[in-house]
Symmetry: D2
Subunit: 345 residues, 4 copies
Amino acid sequence: MYSFANDYSEGAHPRILEALAKTNLEQNPGYGLDSHSAHAIELIRKEAACPQADVHFLVGGTQTNTLAITSVLRPHQAVIAAVTGHINTHETGAVEARGHKILPTETPDGKLTPDRIRPILARHTDEHMVQPKMVYISDSTEIGTIYTKAELEELSRFCRQNGLYLFLDGARIGAALTSASNDLTLADAAALTDLFYIGGTKNGALFGEALIVTNDALKPDFRYLIKQHGAMLAKGWLLGIQFEELFRGRLFYDLAAHANEMAVRLRDALAGRGYPFAYPPQTNQLFPVFANDEIRLLEKDFSFHPDITIDACHTSIRLVTSWATTDEGTDAFIRALDGLKKRNG
Amino acid sequence: MYSFANDYSEGAHPRILEALAKTNLEQNPGYGLDSHSAHAIELIRKEAACPQADVHFLVGGTQTNTLAITSVLRPHQAVIAAVTGHINTHETGAVEARGHKILPTETPDGKLTPDRIRPILARHTDEHMVQPKMVYISDSTEIGTIYTKAELEELSRFCRQNGLYLFLDGARIGAALTSASNDLTLADAAALTDLFYIGGTKNGALFGEALIVTNDALKPDFRYLIKQHGAMLAKGWLLGIQFEELFRGRLFYDLAAHANEMAVRLRDALAGRGYPFAYPPQTNQLFPVFANDEIRLLEKDFSFHPDITIDACHTSIRLVTSWATTDEGTDAFIRALDGLKKRNG
Amino acid sequence: MYSFANDYSEGAHPRILEALAKTNLEQNPGYGLDSHSAHAIELIRKEAACPQADVHFLVGGTQTNTLAITSVLRPHQAVIAAVTGHINTHETGAVEARGHKILPTETPDGKLTPDRIRPILARHTDEHMVQPKMVYISDSTEIGTIYTKAELEELSRFCRQNGLYLFLDGARIGAALTSASNDLTLADAAALTDLFYIGGTKNGALFGEALIVTNDALKPDFRYLIKQHGAMLAKGWLLGIQFEELFRGRLFYDLAAHANEMAVRLRDALAGRGYPFAYPPQTNQLFPVFANDEIRLLEKDFSFHPDITIDACHTSIRLVTSWATTDEGTDAFIRALDGLKKRNG
Amino acid sequence: MYSFANDYSEGAHPRILEALAKTNLEQNPGYGLDSHSAHAIELIRKEAACPQADVHFLVGGTQTNTLAITSVLRPHQAVIAAVTGHINTHETGAVEARGHKILPTETPDGKLTPDRIRPILARHTDEHMVQPKMVYISDSTEIGTIYTKAELEELSRFCRQNGLYLFLDGARIGAALTSASNDLTLADAAALTDLFYIGGTKNGALFGEALIVTNDALKPDFRYLIKQHGAMLAKGWLLGIQFEELFRGRLFYDLAAHANEMAVRLRDALAGRGYPFAYPPQTNQLFPVFANDEIRLLEKDFSFHPDITIDACHTSIRLVTSWATTDEGTDAFIRALDGLKKRNG
């Protein structure tokens, strides 16, 4: 059984584990006030070309999203998100639990544009409704698509013109930045948003996300909120060490590039055999459409999640590759496709 | 200028004001623990045929909705509502501010049915998503439509089968129960829901809503929650006296019937002159469609709110009648329609 | 049975009821956007000498306190209060329910001073603890004492030096301002705090509190928060009309002065008969100490609340006078004291 | 510089790191639904003699406390804690941020008893105040003291008689259970509380706490709440593997015993040299009192936190030993004491 269920099925890249082992008996001050965290912050500021940014290391994605959103909104303010946005669907109401409405909007591709946001602004004009104040986007999105630089620039401009904060969920920003269709950089993300995060959990860290706050107005007292959310890791250097390793050289990009490479191999194999995709395959999440009986056969040897019902006989599935996906696993899946072909033929 | 802007543009029916004046210098215990409130509770229990119900008098609708919903849900539970539901649109995120997600569903008529709820239940199956636990409906709805007894029975059965609480927002239940198309009673509402409220503010009280909790499991400690929400009126007898007056005889129904009667006159005049309606005109809220230049003319003498854009040249408006709407005001509006006709002709 | 249980045992001063009756059939726009509210706001701005202040009319005290406090604090910020502060004891955790810790401090007289606040600031120095950001005081306090102008000035200066908002709960500010020991004015309260409220419920209004926000930084979007708290009265002019009446002339002060006058009569009678007070009797709340068997006798003809246990045989009780307290009721109580005397003698 | 600042200054015990390394490339299902977590749950159930308990692995202490408390209380319910309780002082208002008041009570030793709780229950009798519903205790406490079995039994009985949930914060339960003065077992903790947790972070795990819910009524839907709190680790098996290792044999106890052993050496050295303690030294947290100039000398070679000001010249400091404290570090500190002696002499 080989798993394409997600990109966090294995532990950490060996270099990261080694770094943790090597420093294991160092005595470090707690709560992220250690030298490894300080160094990792410098590396990220440099890579993102934002020397003034505040960088906070956190453990997981829901935690980071909830913290970033609810720490900067006043109680009557709301966040706009794609219907498919992670905060709207798969975080068990964490944003609402902290008091804020999510204003969801339908999209064909999981991406927000000024045109999709304008009707929401037009509808929310007085104090009987919540006040839209933040736009939440993901890159790559929950359905594997990515923003171009032009798209992000346009969205950023629109947000600034309309007094909206722009927050980018970068749980899979590694996969986005190393996609063949990408023309964005980490520095662009930093320059065009008010705050965003770089996902480690889904890109080879044991765990960890780096929240980068570039808007000065949003910086004060963030550490209070981290603590209040139960998100301040006692042994904070564990996060610092991991991000040091990811950004000391190119490891962060290399791991994501590997995930994308494996995805390209699967994508080409699928496309070459005539399987359509529910959404454009741009990163390490693929959503090919299979006949339901094909899915039942594939499930014998591979684990993955069904996505949406296409029709009575077809369903899209989600295949996720990662830094740890092996050639063997990928080859096996491609062979399984051939097996389906033969059987169908 | 005559206002059809809403059904709370005037104070209270004179009998209610008189009752308040007559009792003004009585010394009463505070917080609803007085004899007037006790008597009003008995009258409502009797009228709703629910002798065991808990009845709480509150000041306003948003307060009552927020209290009813957030007092019975656990933090991970959500409430299902029509997209047009008051809690989803016009309460400034009050339910979310207390921690709960609203799961909105599109409807053509503002009403929920098992078929509109089932897909939501089907999508929410594990702990990564909120848990749907309550269904919120309004009768009459925010767009003036009402539930038949058969519809409410079906919905109630469905909710009970699926472990969902059913809460009915009765801000305009007077208008619903006295509509010509209605076959529900207050006793039906009590029997078929877990909790619901009877709106006074929009039906001739100075202010006040009566929340009726019929499900025993939801009764404990409600007064704590009322106090915590800032919803426990110090001079609680002011609410008791008003509901005593509304339910001592038939005043509650008479006032709503008057509102509906005025609406029927407007409806017939509009329909007779060929104006279509955006939604079926069943109660005291009418949504006729006018040409935009007609609206500009009407606005000179009448106040009302625009509703939705129908096309480049047409908009629906909302006309609301009330217990206080006068024959003169209604006649004037009908004459204005004739004026439009003449001008158009 | 005559009640000294509180100062909200009767309805409203007749002039207020008359004003409501006289305007009852006016059509007014909802939600406080009417001309009565606008006029009342002007009267209050003038009386408080704060022409730029924002004034919001609300229904009750807990609602006003919760709104004022939780609308201006960020999630990690806390409010300092006397242990006896209303928000700390008698609001069922309303402030905490909206997310904020109250930092209580012991006081002998219900009042806060820089010296009582400093140790709290000294203890709260990093992000592992909440950040003290507001000071909550009441004038008169929950135990009937009042602030002198010098005290309030000193506290205000301290708050400004330490970046703390100062909020004054004026549920009984009428009683404070008309106390013989008082040297404060409404204009002082406005000048020395960031926001405060003028209580109507306990001073002759049917209900209603006027929240005055003088600090510009705290003004934006308050109406959103009022609505979200379920605190925006649909028929907002009911509040406007009452405050118009209270501040059109001197009615607000006259009513409070009457309450204090009745309290002085009781106080002198009690002191003259040798009864001690648990706290200095300065306003319309008196806390005389009685032998427990005396209390049992008094309870036969008067209603009031016990306060604290002094020793095995003695308890203080709370006697509250109001705008509505009659000479007859007061005389009867004094006669009852004589009855106790005779019996004891 | 050697640190006695806390018991989470180093990474993890080598056996734990090895276990993580050994399993690093296994593919595991996410969110704690893996076989390592299942195995660790079985080991804990067995060790705590509670085969029916629900066990949830979480990342940190504040997260676990907030989750445990706010998931089982209704909005109007409060938790009783010692003034020194971690939730009351060092969690940045996390419990209040989720809506609940903490009712603090002064204690000389950081421990709660029925006698310290009764006055709180006596004061909270109606809906104008929060409803006390849970008792929060820590073992060992924040000041290093521990509960005897008799004390915990008495407290448990009292809580059950009064309808109060009993929650034990076991961040340092390892140190408590291996203290020379201890007569409790993990099974006692499970039997006498409604829910409690076993701390890993401060006892040799890289991170991780195991929350054990024994009261059936509190079990439903906990995983929803974990997710909502951002507390569901994607790679949940990382927690499972660590607790497997801690409870596979006696490692959990051995590590805590080592910490206590080092503390005993320090305690004896301090006591032998005449240093008093601010609180009884029972576990791995010691609070010796030093002259301020001695502290300045010690700070040159050791890191630790000051605790409380004893008088103008003396301060207690907190010394914490851990699973990782070395003989060398301990010896060095003892030699430094001798140095102080010599200098003073």
